[in-house]
Each structure stands twice: as C-alpha cells, then as structure tokens.
C-alpha cells in the first residue's frame, strides 16, 4: 500500500509560481481560482532578514478534518492516502471548507468542492504531479513514503523538515525541507 507525500525544498524554491500555473493548466482550474499558491515568510530585523518560500497546497493529511466532517463521505481517502472529493456525492455544505486549517478547499463554480488531488490521474500513469514536473529548480519531490528507497523517503531521512500547523492534529503529508 503506497502512502503518497510531497517534499518541498525551501532552500531551492525561488517562488516563480510555475507550479501554480502548471496546476491551473493541467487540472483546468477555473479562472480566478487556484489549488496551490506561493507563500513568502520574511523573518528578522533589517538588515538581517531571512526569507522562506513555500509552494503550498492541500496537505493530504492522514487525519483529515475534512474527511471527518463530511456528512456524505464525498471527501475520502483514496489510493495512497490521497484526499479526494467525489463530485456526485458532494452536496456543497462547505463543512470541509470550514474544517481545513490550510484553507485549501474552495467551491468550484459547478457547485462541488474542489482542491488539489496530487494529480492522481498522472500519478496512476507513473508520472509526477504537474507542479512537480514543471518545477525549474527541482525543489519538489513526490513519492511513496512506504517505499524506503524512494527519493522522498531518503530526503526525509537525511534533511530537517517541517509540516504546516501540525498542532492542528492533521498529520499533514506535504513536508517542507529546511
């Protein structure tokens, strides 16, 4: 059983937003919406400033509040632990939108709830998600945590990393290499 995850190297990300555009193109994301986005955190006092750039998206949490609160089980764990929404089971109650501490979900103009799918349609074909595939600095690694020899397992073994708001108890599966 695979457990898909993503590691994003904050030391290499330059915030070019290619991942954002690639996702919008690949997934036909409606204009004005996005499934991933770039965050820049600046720390310190001038002139000693430190910049951290992150490409953020749904964290495909292992303890997803969105899956827990969904009244129809439209939000569910799919193959590889990827959190997906079955469109024709979704009633658009927006409980999952409110439950996500990362604000990763939105209401698609067609009515159902939409978000990052880890490009599972590409992954099934053996390809990387669109955002990972286009990254010009190769700062994103997608892979299977259950495979100890995968690139992502190795990098998480050898590098320091963090997840976003782990204190919300979500057990997120997008890791940021520090």
């Amino acid at each position: 059983m695979a457990r898909y995850a993503m590691a994003i190297d904050t030391k290499r990300c330059v915030g070019c937003a290619d991942c954002v555009v690639a996702c919008q193109t690949e997934n036909n994301v409606p204009i004005g919406y996005c499934r991933d986005w770039i965050v820049q955190d600046t720390y310190g006092e001038y002139p000693n400033l430190h910049l951290e750039i992150r490409s953020e998206r749904c964290n495909h949490c292992a303890d997803s509040p969105c899956v827990r609160c969904c009244p129809t089980s439209a939000s569910h764990y799919a193959e590889g632990g990827v959190v997906l929404v079955t469109h024709d089971e979704c009633i658009g109650c927006k409980a999952c939108v409110a439950s996500c501490p990362y604000d990763a979900r939105y209401v698609h103009p067609e009515g159902y709830i939409d978000k990052c799918t880890f490009c599972i349609h590409r992954v099934k074909e053996g390809e990387d998600p669109a955002c990972v595939a286009v990254c010009p600095t190769h700062c994103m690694i997608f892979g299977d945590l259950d495979d100890k020899n995968s690139e992502i397992s190795k990098v998480l073994n050898s590098r320091k990393y963090k997840t976003l708001i782990p204190e919300a108890g979500t057990n997120p599966h997008v890791f940021y290499l520090l």
């Binding site: 609160c69 129809t72 089980s73 604000d103 108890g169």
Partner: protein
C-alpha cells in the same frame, strides 16, 4: 518580525481574504433550530408533568409553529448548499464522525415527530379542524394513544437538536473561535431560552408567562455564566484562541456583541424578568422580544466570527 505574503496571489472566492463559506442561511437555521428545540422541550416536559391544561400555550399552541419554523430553517439550509441536486446524499449514509450528518438525521426524526405531536393536539386548539381524509383521522387517533412515548422522544431529540446546533461549529478546530466545547451547551441554553421567550410572546395566561419568565431567568443566568467561561477558556488557551477572544475584547466584534447580545439580549431581559418576579409590572413582551433578537444576533456573530478566526496567515486580519 515575521511577515507573510501569498506572492502568487490567492483569491479563491469565498475563501480569501477571509473565509466566507457560510452566509445568512446558517445562522438563521441555527436560530430556528434552537427555538424549535426550546419549544419542543418545554412542550414535552410539561406534558409529561401532566400540566397540558395549565400551560396550554407551552404544551399545545407553541408546537404548532414548530413545523413551520423547521421548514423555513431547512429551506435556509438547502439554499446554502452549492451542489443542491445532490442533497439527498445526506440520507444515503450515517457518518457518526460528522456533526453535519447526525444533524441531518436528527432533523429527519424531529420533523415528523413534531408533525405527529401537533396533529394529536390540533383538535383541542381548533375544535372545527377537519382532517377530511378518514384515513388520516384514524392514524392521528391511533397516535393519540402514544402521546407519552412521543413526548419522551421529543424531550430527548429536542435536547440533541439544541446541542447539535453548537457542536456543528465547535467540531472545527481549524476555526479557533468555534473550537470550544462550551458552544454546544451555550447554543442549547440559548435555544431553550428563545423557546421560552417565544411562548411568553404568544401566551395569554398570566400564570404561564410568569412561569416561563422564571425559567428564562435561570436560562439567561446560565447563558451569561457560559459566555464568561467561554472567554476565560479562550484567554487561557493557545495563541490562536487568545487572538479569537480579542476579536470580542477590543476587536471588530466588541461593540456589536456586548451591546446587542450581552446587554440587550441577556442583561436587560434578565433585569426585567427579575423585576417581574419581584412584583413590578413589566410588559413581558419586551424581555421576550429582546431574548429572541439577542439569540438571532448571537448566531450571526458566532458564525461570522468563527470564519474570521484562523491558524494561518494572520496578516489577513490585520488588513481588516
């Protein structure tokens, strides 16, 4: 210093800059659900206590409004859905982890139960009432034998309904202002209080109004206690919850909450009901109407403030 910027731009409608998943529909429904819970609870309670005639409005008249209120509340819920044609999916599964799911199911029990409850009384209230169809007449007569059972059913389900309106929100730890276990009891007590206020508004019996006023006095006192404890809990909690509390203690919700909910919706009715109890003649409609309006505004503020409180990107609030 720490500064956070979304440089790629993120303006997902309904999400950015501040979450706005739920508009007016949800607070309207939560309010009506609370009033319904209050009316049904006291109706069933005084029926079981054998006081149907003494408190005729509480037991028999007020519940007539329940199916109408529930219908309006459910319509509001339906309007809130963005994928409306699939609403029936709620009833193809029970998910115990999801408050939204068991709320939908409890409504599925309370709604028909309240209709049956009203049907068994309707001829006492409207003597000329005619069911037209003999079959309906027969079924209703049949149910009359089970009034006590129905009353017990309503007593329990109305409490669950009242509680659930709060738990629905408190189950989201992503929204620090909602994420307090006090919200369930608070909405239940507020719902019971608005239920008594509704009875006070429509009752013509002085004795009944006085009784409901006394009960409301206790409920309001409990509500004040719970609200104070809610803020004490927030202030003693994590940074995000302290931040959530400060939206009400100097932040943008301060004036509207403490004026309309706390003073006009709780303190003023409390004082006027206490004066009434002490023998002064206060028109009971005043505290009753204030309690109802305060309860409605409380739901609006809580639903709104919860969505304004969050874990990530606090800079967004600073822009407000």
């Amino acid at each position: 210093m720490k500064e956070t910027i979304i440089t790629s731009g993120r303006m997902n409608p309904g999400i950015d800059p501040v979450l706005h998943a739920w508009g007016w529909e949800i607070p309207i429904y939560l309010f009506l659900g609370g009033v319904v819970a209050g009316i049904l609870f006291f109706s069933a309670f005084y029926f079981i206590r054998g006081k149907s005639e003494q408190y005729r409005t509480t037991v028999k008249i007020a519940p007539i409004f329940v199916p109408i209120m529930l219908a309006v509340g459910l319509l509001a819920l339906f309007l809130d859905l963005t994928h409306k044609l699939y609403f029936w999916r709620l009833y193809t599964i029970i998910r115990w982890e999801s408050p939204m799911s068991w709320g939908a199911w409890i409504l599925m029990i309370v709604f028909p139960l309240s209709l049956i409850w009203v049907a068994t009384f309707i001829k006492d209230i409207f003597p000329k009432w005619d069911w037209k169809l003999p079959l309906v007449e027969k079924v209703v007569d049949r149910f009359k034998g089970y009034q006590r059972w129905i009353a017990w059913g309503l007593l329990i389900t109305s409490l669950i309904l009242g509680m659930y309106t709060g738990i629905l929100l408190s189950a989201f730890n992503a929204r620090p202002f909602w994420n307090t276990a006090i919200l369930g009891p608070l909405f239940l007590v507020s719902g019971l209080s608005t239920g008594t206020a509704f009875v006070m508004l429509i009752s013509k019996s002085h004795e009944e109004k006085a009784k409901m006023g006394q009960i409301d006095l206790i409920l309001i006192a409990t509500e004040i206690f719970l609200i104070i404890h809610m803020f004490m809990g927030f202030l003693a909690s994590t940074e995000v919850q302290i931040h959530a509390a400060h939206m009400f203690l100097g932040g943008s919700y301060t004036a509207v909450f403490w004026t309309f909910v706390f003073v006009l919706g709780l303190i003023v009715p409390f004082i006027s009901e206490a004066l009434e109890l002490g023998g002064y003649n206060v028109p009971v409609a005043v505290p009753a109407a204030l309690v109802l309006i305060g309860g409605l505004i409380l739901r609006f503020i809580v639903v709104d403030a919860g969505q304004a409180s969050r874990w990530l990107y606090k800079f967004v609030e600073q822009l407000q």
